[in-house]
């Protein structure tokens, strides 16, 4: 069976980070890194693009805001205006101060929940999804580097040598 993937297992995130930098400088493409907690500084090294989750959140917030304004306008101005303490029931704009709290809540509600749904979709995680970390210890105290050979020109042996000399504890081929 020919080797397709190399898994380099590390005991410390800083050693992995140094190793990743070395591999990348030699032109190796690291497909992914699995770790028990976020490793700061790994994203630019292995080429993780900056997420646009916050932009999505902003858009969801705007949607929530518009939804709230539409709701007030439709229910209390257009469909059934009521005289409540003599407040102007003919104009959304003039009645707006009383609507600010709900507008704010609706904005936050839509921004937060919309972002969470996007987060689950982008990470491709949901109840019933099977986990795909190659080693069970990566959610405990080990850090794993996954290198797909089909996307690299370097041979498995050459990569192994670099992994070994930069401090990988275990190297497995699959």
């Amino acid at each position: 069976m020919s080797t397709k993937e190399i898994h380099g297992l590390f005991g410390d995130e800083e050693i992995l980070l140094a190793s990743a930098k070395k591999l990348v400088s030699k032109g190796v493409y690291i497909n992914d890194v699995f770790s028990p907690f976020p490793i700061h500084g790994i994203d630019p090294v292995i080429g993780v693009p900056a997420t646009r989750l916050h932009i999505a959140g902003f858009i969801y917030g705007i949607v929530g805001l518009c939804l709230a304004l539409f709701m007030f306008w439709f229910t209390l101005i257009l469909d059934w205006p009521m005289n409540i303490g003599g407040k102007p029931n003919f104009s959304l704009l003039q009645n707006l101060p009383a609507f600010i709290p709900v507008t704010f809540e609706m904005t936050v509600f839509c921004a937060a929940h919309g972002m969470c749904v996007t987060y689950f979709l982008r990470n491709n995680i949901y109840p019933g999804k099977k986990s795909w970390n190659p080693d069970l210890r990566t959610t405990d105290d080990k850090f794993l580097m996954l290198i797909d050979l089909s996307e690299n020109s370097m041979s498995a042996e050459e990569i192994e040598v670099i992994l070994k000399e930069t401090g990988a504890e275990e190297i497995t081929q699959k």
């Binding site: 992914d32 890194v33 699995f34 976020p38 809540e105 509600f109 937060a112 959610t139 105290d141």
Partner: protein, 458 residues
Amino acid sequence: MSSQEAWIREPLVLGDKSYHDISNDIARPIEGKANRQWWIAFTIALIAMLWGVGCILYTVGVGIGTWGLNKTVGWAWDITNFVWWVGIGHAGTLISAVLLLFRQKWRMAINRSAEAMTIFAVICAALFPGIHMGRIWMAYWVLPLPNQYGSLWVNFNSPLLWDVFAISTYFSVSLVFWYIGLIPDFATIRDRAAKAAKPISHTVYAIMSFGWSGNARAWHRFEEISLVLAGLATPLVLSVHTIVSMDFATSVIPGWHTTIFPPYFVAGAIFSGFAMVQTLMLVMRKVVSLEEYITINHVELMNKVIMLTGSIVGVAYITELFMSWYSGVEYEQYAFINRATGPYWWAYAAMMTCNVVSPQVFWSKKLRRNITFTFFLSIIVNIGMWFERFVIIVTSLHRDYLPSSWVMFYPTWVDIGIFVGTLGIFFTLFLLYARTFPVLPIAEVKSILKSTGSQYKK
């Protein structure tokens, strides 16, 4: 190590822990069997909860005439308990969101349990307006539903409706914020269960962890969403208690109609919430032996927050008194004289002693770092904050504009039963949580180990 922080700061993780030790320590209560004390506490909480459920069913069946409310005092224990529970919830969000924005690393030891406390407290709080409706099966009328459902459109000018939106947004956003943080830790528990060949718990935690694998892209998004949700939750938590205070402040009752209420209520909420966090954490760190993660240093830092917010509450009380005199409004002046010297003077005195005087002892470093004293004081603050709400609500109402309407409020056994019942619900949920959920954020504690662990500070 490059990531170390200043030597002058005390370590946050004691006892020379490795990453694996952290997983072991936090997973131990979940993987082991419950001890005797847990079962005793759980049984008591469960009985209290069942008693409360019985009282609630009795109220729903017979009507709110079973409570001590009367024509003059239309709001009493129910709203007192509602505001008290909502306030307790606020500390959780403050710890997880505001302290995250301020980059306070000590929040890592307590944020998970504080957020759990928030969620359980909001459940207890939301119960009270629900059952106070009398006809709880009509509760969906608070939603903006079309006219043909029997009522008109809801009134978006009313603070009571703002509350519906504020509490439901707060509850649901806190819940997802908490759960997103839990997912990586459930994955740790899941993989440990797989290694230990425990198929049932592996299946359960595999579902709860959503298949989290800890890849770099997922962690990148995790950090982003945590930060943005914290940014959203911070104004949210301030808005929730602001809106709760507007339930009172927008009315024309003397003692309620004041602009100081929003900041005063928010400070009070954080004050009482931190006291409840102290009560829970001091017991929890002992019971599940997490003293090396929730250290004396953490206790002291929380006591500082209690002292600060307690002082803000004290200033608010005194400002209220001053403003009632300075306003020249005799109804307003009478309301405050009656609070302090009328038939409910003892409630006012309890509130002043517990909330204004008692937290000032925390100027002493020795007392701030004394576990027994802190526990005692956290209970005192919780009692004081309950009395604060009782004083604001009942003493403002019981002297109506016409002396012929002047009455006293006496709680019935149903009032008391429901309050005890919510304490039961709260502790039942918290005890179940402590046995099944990682009570400390495993991943986040690991991420601060190298900068704040004791072995890296030598």
